[in-house]
């Protein structure tokens, strides 16, 4: 009898998959070309999302995660480690919770490797179908974010390499700053359409381009 029932939820054969934004359409006027856009918005669909839980007091846990992912496990609030193998990232969510994002289709393999490496009290949960990443790039992104979240996105408070979960419009999102003018929003699937169209609406005055 196994303690946990873990399986790869992706099909072996190629089938039609639909990201959370597959049905969403812009209801504001968008630009035809990215040139001159204040905001370029793009869904980074189908990435692997894993919730990791564990104790930072358990040094073997910390070491095991870092070894598996080749990234440091952020131990401070707001920490975000980016640039791991296969574009992997780890984000601090709570003192005992992190969000791991890996390349599309790599979530089960990552989970399996983590489980092989870790022992004791920890958890790994696959949430890849339940959320998606919206990338916002451009000079006006910070101003757009100010219209969306009460969290302070000024560079003095929000340097590159930071990520927080916060109120976003009338929902929540994880907000990450991955480069000077490039931000990511991690949003829940069911709220994705609302948040996507909200961001488009907020971006319209700056000129917004929707990238594939």
């Amino acid at each position: 009898m196994s303690d946990l029932a873990i399986f790869d939820v992706n099909p072996a054969a190629r089938i039609k998959s639909e990201s959370p934004l597959s049905m969403s359409r812009a209801t504001v006027s968008t630009l035809r070309l990215p040139q001159g856009a204040g905001v370029v918005i793009r869904e980074r669909a189908f990435l692997g999302h894993l919730v990791l839980r564990g104790r930072v007091s358990d040094s073997a846990f910390v070491a095991g995660v870092e070894e598996t992912l080749g990234l440091s496990l952020p131990l401070k609030a707001g920490g975000l480690s980016i640039g791991g193998k296969d574009e992997a990232s780890i984000q601090w969510v709570s003192p005992d919770e992190w969000l791991i994002i890996v390349a599309s289709g790599r979530e089960f393999e990552t989970e399996t490797r983590l489980r092989a490496c870790l022992a004791g009290h920890f958890a790994v949960m696959n949430v890849s179908g339940g959320q998606t990443v919206l990338e916002l790039a451009g000079p006006a992104v910070r101003e757009v974010l100010m219209k969306c979240t009460p969290y302070d996105v000024h560079p003095r408070n929000f340097p590159v390499g930071k990520g927080v979960s916060a109120v976003f419009a009338k929902s929540n999102a994880i907000i990450r700053r991955v480069a000077d003018e490039r931000w990511e929003l991690v949003v829940r699937r069911s709220f994705a359409d609302y948040l996507y169209r909200w961001v488009l609406d907020a971006s319209e005055e700056f000129g917004v381009y929707v990238a594939e």
Binding site: M1, S2, D3, L4, A5, F7, D8, V9, N10, P11, A12, A13, I15, K16, S17, E18, S19, P20, S22, M23, T27, S29, R53, D96, H121, F122, A123, V124, M125, N126, V127, S128, G129, G130, Q131, M146, K147, P150, Y151, D152, H154, R156, N157, A169, K170, S171, R188, R189, S190, F191, D193, Y194, L195, R197, W198, D201, A202, E204, E205, G207
Partner: protein, 1008 residues
């Protein structure tokens, strides 16, 4: 040109840019840089409104937010209508259309004026209460007439074409007010590199500098202001916002700023480069420190007929002349208690108009400005005041008399002086409103004869609002406040030189509010305190005589300060009058409380973009596009959009639901169950934890099995329910109700974090990760068999088992659970793959009659089985025992699970608690109303004891009759009895109390 009061030179208007506007249907012209008020005054418009109660003609009194009379309806088209616009704060634009708010049928000849003429004797304060309140039933009728006559403005009847939004801002120092103190503070803070926001409600920043006669650092004050603004504009971390009112100050220095971005351009927002512009923006500012530099409002004196057009506050005269190049009259009399107001006379004189007299309440005025006036040959009458003005639609004369301010009496003969304008100044009231918003009481200061802000954490008052009114003092106070603010916010002061201002010697002011008249106040002609609400000094005196001693009661009784101007001009005068009548001091009488918003704010700005499609988030499942394509009608459940039913052709809802019900009972139906809350639970103590939170036992649930569970609050009342599957020894998949998902996760975390942190278990929401499709009906197995590698034989995959496998090639967890009582499989797949699986089911499902069904059919089918819906059949006061669900209560579990102890409280053990029963209406076609009250007797008597209510009610095509679930007192003992349901239309329905399980009570159908 017809701008007869426009001066040939000076001012800050652009004479090369004339602008056309209409007021009450008549076309006029003003200039760029005008406010609507200055343009009206330039055109010699005396009467701009009719007063609220007495319908007296009223003119423009002030030049800022404190204006009580020039309150207009704006908008050239229906959709652009805006009520309650203060002309003094509305920039003129080409094509502006304004109409008076009061005045029916027009301001020049007003029907209500007749009532007003008859005099206040017939309309004392409390008039409406006393006259119209009885009989109460008539009030709605009176109200309509009164409101129409009073004319409080109106909202547009068409959709607003404009957009509005909110911006969240954070700063180290927020400076409210860009007058001398505010500019100095912003400069001090800005130079240190701190994040600074400077806002000002006016079109142009600079405040009193803009009409100042003084020099700063050797140049005219407006030039100094412009230089500071230029320096601030070049600082990357400084944001300056003009046309932006700090409207509310909330806890912990959260300040809302209302920025009007396009209202100076047109009545609806223009587009730039084809993009819609935001008309108004609400900045939600969290500031480490707030510098309050809101300045002062000049107090007019309260004398008889002080509301006749042509009476103004003294400072407004200077503002109109120096900023707008408008001299609003020919012959001026100034009545003052202080030196500062002499500026009005000097500016008037400088504009080439005649100053007939300055009437100074002091016996020995001797400041520099007094000397300057005397040197110009202006007549200065001392120890006296204007006690009354003459004229109806414009002042024609002032009555001046020597007065004794302390003894409150006229002490000599009255002189009538011919003039067309009377300016008055009774001193300066600090604009303390924002400081009062979080509850701090303003504090009286005798030396400045005004209230200064009470102490607010993190807020530093500076300049006039702090009682430092002279220009030199205001600048110094601003520098000091800015420096203190930034160092408290953690910055090193950047160093600002104190601006140098030649000192102007000012004499001490005298305390005078209401001016004595030759007649006693109650019999003197009306002396207005609050012009917007027509409150007079006599009215306040009457209130105190009728026993209203608290200033808050006086305000409510008279209506003082309840206009859209919140009594900015009148409150202190009202308090002084009340104090005099009650023979006490002003601070003993009380202070005034102000609430947001400082000036009226449009609903658009409050709503921002949280309206229309963004009013509330709409949550969609992965299958939503399919539902839309197949004509589903949707129901909002929480924020989820769930298919309600899928009408075909011209089917009514009833017809569609009956068809869907039959399909499930006879063939196979499918429900998008993705919205159900799902929580993944991992950890070696997961099972123990479930046992503590659920009412029933979990110790023996083996891997591969599912179990229904009830959750209670610790008071024993049901809070949620759902099926939880044992995935592995340390691994569970919990489901919750759609609406309860977030609350249940919080609930688990609450107990884990606060009571049992030693349990090794983690929870996470996987609601959105899994899409869930429930196939229900006798053909469910045959359909699923075509698409899965799972062995569906009942012996290997029985009721309440779950299996992993593939469905349509997609890895899936399939749960054999049923909410309809039919053979049922709930297929869970990663949401990205859901549409593929759903479509594959339909591809194979045609021959089995696969029918999509919505929440309405789900409700009918579950109710036939007596399955409850938490929140519909329960309301937070229902125990598992009340529901007859003792089978789901683990009385013998070793841990006293949440809710267990409360079940043995005397109240939860009462036999006559409301219990869940079924109701079968005597009339089989009848569907009882949900919420209908239940009684035990057909005959209606009063009082009629009510014994319960209907919680769920439907027509069942399977049973062929209507049926209901209900909570009835002692219901389990009433099976077979008849109860009655009296309806509002007088009908009394009759129903039999039956078991809540109407269909397949043994559960054979789900076990096949």
């Amino acid at each position: 040109m017809s701008q007869r009061n426009r001066l040939d030179h000076g001012g800050r208007v652009d004479r090369s840019r004339p602008l056309r506007f209409t007021f009450n249907g008549v076309a006029y012209q003003g200039y760029a840089g005008d406010t609507l008020a200055s343009a009206l005054l330039a055109n010699g418009i005396d009467v701009v409104n009719r007063s609220f109660k007495y319908s007296r003609p009223r003119g423009i009194v002030a030049a800022g937010a404190e204006e009580p009379n020039a309150i207009f309806q704006l908008g050239a088209s229906e959709a652009a209508q805006v009520p309650n616009v203060r002309a003094t704060q509305q920039a003129l634009y080409d094509g502006l259309v304004a109409t008076s708010t009061n005045g029916w049928p027009n301001v020049e000849r007003d029907l209500m004026g007749v009532v007003g003429e008859l005099g206040g004797r017939f309309m004392p304060p409390g008039f409406y209460y006393k006259t119209f309140m009885a009989p109460a039933a008539m009030w709605p009728k009176y109200e309509k007439v009164i409101r129409k006559a009073a004319g409080l403005g109106r909202s547009p009847k068409e959709r607003d074409p404009d957009i509005y939004d909110h911006v969240n801002r954070h700063c180290d120092v927020l400076v409210v007010g860009a007058g001398p103190a505010g500019l100095a503070a912003a400069l001090a803070a800005g130079r240190s590199g701190a994040r600074v926001i400077l806002c000002d409600e006016q079109e142009e920043m600079g405040g009193s500098l803009l009409d100042s006669r003084e020099q700063i650092d050797g140049r005219p004050a407006p030039e100094w202001g412009a230089a500071v603004l230029a320096e601030l504009a070049a600082m990357p971390e400084v944001l300056t916002l003009s046309r932006t009112t700090a409207n509310g100050c909330h806890d912990h220095n959260f300040v809302t700023l209302h920025e009007r971005r396009t209202e100076h351009l047109a009545d609806t927002a223009p587009t730039f480069g084809g993009r819609r512009q935001v008309r108004a923006r609400l900045h939600r500012v969290r500031a480490a420190r707030v510098v309050l530099a809101t300045g002062t409002h000049e107090r007019p004196l309260v004398y008889a007929h002080n509301d006749v057009p042509g009476n103004m506050v003294a400072g407004a005269i200077s503002t109109y002349i120096r900023r707008y190049a408008v001299a609003p009259g020919r012959r001026l009399v100034l009545s003052t208690t202080n030196d500062h107001a002499y500026r009005a006379a000097l500016d008037w004189h400088g504009a080439g108009r005649e100053v007939v007299a300055i009437v100074d309440a002091r016996d020995n005025p001797n400041g520099d400005l007094v000397s300057e006036a005397r040197a110009l040959g202006i007549r200065v009458i001392t120890g006296a005041a204007v006690i009354e003005t003459r004229g109806k639609k414009r002042v024609t004369a002032a009555l001046v008399a020597p007065i004794d301010p302390v003894g409150f009496r006229v002490r000599g003969p009255v002189e009538e002086i011919s003039c067309d304008t009377v300016a008055s100044s009774g001193g300066y009231s600090p604009v303390v409103h924002l400081a009062a918003h979080t509850g701090a009481r303003p504090e009286w200061r005798d030396d400045i004869l005004g209230f200064v802000p009470g102490k607010v954490r993190g807020m530093i008052p500076a300049g006039g609002v702090n009682g430092r009114m002279a220009l030199a003092e205001a600048l110094a106070d601003g520098v000091e406040a800015g420096t203190r603010a930034l160092s408290e916010a953690g910055f090193k002061p950047g160093g600002v030189m104190l601006p140098q201002v030649p000192r102007v010697r000012e004499g001490r002011a005298v305390a005078l509010y209401q001016v004595p008249h030759v007649k006693p106040a109650m019999r003197a002609p009306k002396q207005f305190v609050d012009q917007q609400n027509d409150v007079t000094a006599a009215g306040i005196e009457l209130a105190t005589r009728e026993g209203f001693e608290s200033i808050e009661h006086v305000k409510r009784y008279t209506g003082m300060g309840f206009g859209t101007d919140q009594g900015k001009l009148g409150n202190i005068n009202a308090m002084a009058i009340a104090a005099r009548c009650l023979k006490q001091t002003i601070p003993d009488t009380g202070t005034t409380v102000f609430r947001p918003n400082y000036t009226p704010i449009t609903f658009g700005a409050i709503a921002g973009r949280h309206c229309r499609e963004f009013f509330d988030p709409r949550r969609y499942t992965a299958l939503h596009a399919w539902h839309v394509e197949h004509g589903a009608k949707f129901e909002e459940v929480g924020q989820w959009m769930r298919p309600w039913y899928y009408p075909r052709g011209n089917e009514t809802m009833d017809e569609a639901v009956q068809r869907e019900c039959r399909a499930v009972r006879e063939g196979v139906g499918i429900l998008d169950a993705s919205t159900l809350g799902k929580i993944e639970i991992q950890g070696k103590d997961a099972r123990e934890f479930l046992g503590r939170l659920y009412t029933n036992p979990w110790a023996k649930l083996t891997v591969g099995k599912c179990r229904y569970g009830l959750m209670c609050k610790d008071d024993g009342m049901v809070m949620d329910d759902g099926v939880t599957a044992c995935l592995g020894e340390n691994h569970f998949h919990m489901t919750t109700t759609t609406g309860g998902a977030a609350a249940v996760l919080d609930w688990l975390e609450l107990w884990h974090q606060t009571e049992w942190p030693e349990l090794e278990v983690y929870f996470n929401s996987v609601t959105d990760h899994w899409a869930a499709m429930a196939i229900n009906g006798p053909n469910a197995r045959k359909l699923l068999a075509e698409l899965t590698d799972i062995d569906l034989a009942n012996e290997r995959f029985g009721f309440m088992d779950w299996c992993a496998g593939t469905v349509a090639g997609v890895p899936a967890r399939v749960f054999r659970i049923s909410f309809t009582g039919e053979l049922s499989y709930e297929i869970n797949v990663q949401a990205n793959h859901a549409m593929h699986v759903w479509e594959a089911l339909f591809e194979k499902g045609g021959k089995y009659g696969l029918t999509p069904y919505g929440t309405e059919t789900m409700h009918v089918l579950r109710a036939e089985k007596g399955f409850i819906i938490v929140g519909q059949d329960t309301d937070g006061s229902v125990t598992p025992e009340d529901l007859g669900m003792q089978w789901c209560v683990g009385y013998k579990k070793p841990f006293s699970w949440i809710g267990r102890r409360a079940l043995s409280r005397p109240d939860t053990k009462r036999g006559d608690r409301k219990q869940l029963v079924g109701l079968k209406p005597r009339d089989p076609r009848l569907v009882l109303q949900e919420g209908a009250q239940i009684v035990l007797e057909r005959q209606i008597r009063i009082p009629m004891p009510m014994v319960g209510h209907v919680t769920s009610s439907y027509f069942s095509p399977t049973l062929g009759h209507g049926f209901a679930l209900a909570l009835v007192k002692g219901g389990s003992q009433r099976i077979g009895q008849t109860v009655y349901l009296p309806m509002p239309d007088g009908k009394v329905h009759e129903a039999e109390v039956v078991s809540p399980v109407f269909y397949d009570s043994k559960g054979d159908r789900q076990n096949v």
